[in-house]
C-alpha cells in the first residue's frame, strides 16, 4: 500500500484545448509529466517563478482542473477521472486556503455564518450551538477574539481575514490543505504569524499540506520537503535541509543566489549565478 496521502504521477495539464474545434493547433501543455507525493502530516513546498505552473499543479491535485495525462491518487483511491459526484465527499477532506481571503469569503455574511455554515452543511456539528462551540475553539486557536463572530469580512484586517481563511479550512477537519501563495503581500510580521500558526496547526492536527510559494525563504520556514518547478517540470526535489543546504540543480542555486538576505554582503549584487 502507498503510505502517501496524495500521489500524482505524470501530471500533464493543457489549457484551452478544444479538440477538433476549427481544427486549431493543439495548445502546448503547461505541466509536462509532473510527479509529486505528499505524505500524511507532511508539508510539501512547491516553488517556482511566476508562470512555472504552481497554481495549475495545485488545482490539478484537487481535481479543480482536468489533467490531460497522468493520475492522481488520494488516500489510496484513484481520483483522476472519477465523476464530480464521487469527488464531492472528498472535498471536505481536501481544503484550500486562498491568497486573498476576501475573494473567498461572502461579503454579506457575518464571520459567524461563514464559519458555522459549512460545519452544519457537512454534518460535522449536530446543531447550531455545538457548531458555535467548535468555531469558538478554533477562533481562539488562530488568536482571533470571539467578537469577530459578529463582524463582516471587510471589517477585518488582511491578517485577520487570512486567519479566518485558515480557521475555515481547519474546521472541516481535512486531511489535506492546499495553500497557494497565502502569505505573499503580507507584512513580514503578519507573515510570520500566519506561518507559525499554519506550522503549529499542521503538527497538532497531522495535516498534510501543499504549500505553494514563489518565495524560497517562506518555503524554508514551513516545509519539510520541496519541489522546484520550472516551466512545468520538476527540476529538483528533496528534503529542505538537502535542497537548501546543497542544491543540486543550477536553477535552484540561481533562485537562491537571487534572494537578498538582510545582512552585510558587499559582493552580493555583482555576484552572478552560473545558471
Amino acid at each position: 500500500m502507498d503510505e502517501h496521502l496524495l500521489t500524482a504521477t505524470g501530471i500533464e495539464v493543457t489549457y484551452g484545448k478544444r479538440p477538433g474545434l476549427f481544427g486549431g493547433k493543439p495548445a502546448t501543455p503547461v505541466l509536462h509529466g509532473v510527479d509529486i507525493r505528499i505524505g500524511r502530516g507532511q508539508t510539501v513546498g512547491i516553488v517556482g517563478e511566476s508562470g512555472s505552473g504552481k497554481t495549475t499543479l495545485g488545482r490539478a491535485l484537487l481535481r479543480l482542473v482536468d489533467v490531460s495525462a497522468g493520475s492522481i491518487a488520494f488516500d489510496g483511491k484513484n481520483i483522476t477521472h472519477i465523476p464530480e459526484a464521487e469527488i464531492r465527499p472528498l472535498r471536505r477532506r481536501m481544503q484550500m486556503i486562498f491568497q486573498d481571503p476576501m475573494a473567498s469569503l461572502n461579503p454579506r455574511h457575518t464571520i459567524r455564518r461563514i464559519l458555522t455554515g459549512p460545519l452544519l452543511l457537512h454534518e460535522l456539528a449536530s446543531d447550531t450551538a455545538s457548531a458555535l462551540e467548535r468555531v469558538k475553539t478554533v477562533l481562539d486557536r488562530v488568536s482571533l477574539p470571539a467578537a469577530c463572530l459578529d463582524r463582516y469580512p471587510h471589517e477585518l484586517s488582511g491578517g485577520q481575514r487570512q486567519r479566518i481563511g485558515i480557521a475555515r479550512a481547519v474546521l472541516m477537519q481535512p486531511d489535506f490543505v492546499l495553500a497557494d501563495e497565502i502569505v505573499s503581500g503580507l507584512d513580514v510580521s503578519t507573515q510570520a504569524q500566519a506561518l507559525k500558526l499554519l506550522k503549529g496547526l499542521s503538527r497538532e492536527l497531522g495535516l498534510a499540506m501543499a504549500f505553494i510559494s514563489h518565495d524560497l525563504s517562506v518555503i524554508r520556514a514551513i516545509c519539510d520537503y520541496v519541489y522546484v518547478l520550472r516551466l512545468g517540470r520538476i527540476v529538483e526535489e528533496g528534503p529542505c535541509e538537502q535542497v537548501f543546504g546543497n542544491p543540486a540543480a543550477a536553477y535552484t542555486r540561481a533562485l537562491l543566489d537571487a534572494i537578498p538576505l538582510p545582512e552585510y554582503d558587499p559582493g552580493w549584487l555583482e555576484r552572478k549565478s552560473e545558471a
Binding site: 513580514v188 510570520a192 518565495d215 517562506v218 524554508r220 529542505c240 537578498p260
Partner: protein, 286 residues
C-alpha cells in the same frame, strides 16, 4: 562635509480621508549626493507618502501640516509651481512600482522615451531618438532597435522596468525616487534590476531614495536606511550598523521576523505584541 542633496525636516502630514489621522510624524531624513537611502516599513507606514511629498504628487486627501523638504537648499513645499515643474522629471525623477501603468499603452517605447527628452531637455526629435536608443543600450537591453518599436504590452515586466529606469536616468537627475520598483518581479529579474539601478546610480552619481518593505533589498543596495512605523522614524543610520547593531526593539524584532532560506527556524516569530505596545506608547497612539 558635503551638503545634503535632500533634507526632509519635521515633515508632518494628516489624512483627511481618515478624520485627520497623522500619516507622517515629524519625519527627518537626509540624502547626500550619490547616496542610496532605503526607506522601509510595513504597509501603511508612510513610505509612499514621503516619496509623493518629495515628488509633489500627494493626493488631495493627504495634507502636509508642517516641516520642509529642502532639495539643494530650496524648500520644495513652498516653491512656485513653475519652478517645481522645471525640477520634476528633470532634476528629480521617479522609478515607479508598476511599470504597467507608468507607460502609455498606446505609444511605442521609442516615442515615449524621446518625447520626454524633447520636453525636458529640449532636444530635436532626431537627437532625442538617437539618445533614447543609447539609453536602452545603457540599461543593457540587448536589442534596443526592436524595443524602440515595441508597445509596452509586448515587453516582460522586467523589460518594462528597464525602460522606466532608462527613462528616469535619461534626464541625468540628481535625485531618483524609486517606490518598490521590484515588487512585481521574480527574484532573478529583481536582482538584475537592483544591480542595474545601483550601476546607473553610480555612473551618474545620483542620490536615490529607495522605498521598499524588504530589509534584504536594503542590505544589498542601500548605503543608509530609515525605518518608519506609523509615520514616525523609528531608526536611522548606515545600513550595516542598523542591521548588525539595531538599537530599537522593533528593528530587532523585524529583522528576526523575516524568513531566510539559509535558516530553517527563521520567519516564524512575529514582532511581539509588547514591542508594538512600546512603539505605540513612544509614538503616542492609543
Amino acid at each position: 562635509m558635503t551638503e545634503n542633496l535632500l533634507t526632509v525636516a519635521n515633515l508632518s502630514a494628516v489624512s483627511d480621508r481618515e478624520d485627520g489621522v497623522p500619516v507622517l510624524r515629524d519625519v527627518d531624513l537626509t540624502l547626500r549626493p550619490g547616496e542610496v537611502r532605503g526607506l522601509v516599513g510595513e504597509s501603511g507606514a508612510g513610505k509612499s507618502t514621503i516619496a509623493k511629498a518629495i515628488l509633489g504628487i500627494l493626493p488631495r486627501t493627504v495634507r502636509i501640516t508642517g516641516g520642509r523638504i529642502d532639495f539643494k537648499g530650496r524648500d520644495l513645499l513652498v516653491m512656485k509651481p513653475r519652478d517645481l515643474r522645471n525640477i520634476m522629471g528633470s532634476e528629480i525623477a521617479l522609478i515607479p512600482q508598476d511599470p504597467q501603468t507608468a507607460l502609455n499603452p498606446a505609444r511605442r517605447i521609442g516615442f515615449q522615451l524621446a518625447d520626454g527628452l524633447r520636453l525636458k531637455r529640449g532636444m530635436s526629435a532626431k537627437i532625442a531618438e538617437a539618445r533614447a536608443l543609447q539609453l536602452l543600450a545603457d540599461v543593457q537591453i540587448r536589442d534596443p532597435d526592436r524595443i524602440m518599436k515595441s508597445y509596452p504590452h509586448q515587453l516582460s515586466g522586467g523589460m518594462r522596468q528597464r525602460v522606466l529606469i532608462a527613462a528616469a536616468f535619461a534626464v541625468d537627475p540628481q535625485l531618483v525616487v524609486a517606490d518598490e520598483p521590484t515588487t512585481a518581479l521574480d527574484v532573478t529579474v529583481q536582482k538584475e534590476i537592483l544591480r542595474l539601478i545601483r550601476r546607473m546610480q553610480e555612473a551618474h552619481g545620483t542620490g536615490v531614495l529607495f522605498v521598499t518593505h524588504d530589509l534584504g533589498i536594503v542590505a544589498q543596495i542601500c548605503d543608509s536606511v530609515t525605518l518608519l512605523y506609523a509615520g514616525k522614524v523609528i531608526e536611522e543610520g548606515p545600513v550595516r550598523d542598523v542591521l548588525e547593531t539595531p538599537q530599537h526593539n522593533y528593528t530587532k524584532a523585524l529583522i528576526a521576523a523575516g524568513p531566510r532560506y539559509d535558516r530553517p527556524d527563521a520567519g516564524l516569530e512575529p514582532v511581539p505584541e509588547a514591542v508594538f505596545r512600546e512603539l505605540r506608547q513612544e509614538i503616542g497612539i492609543d
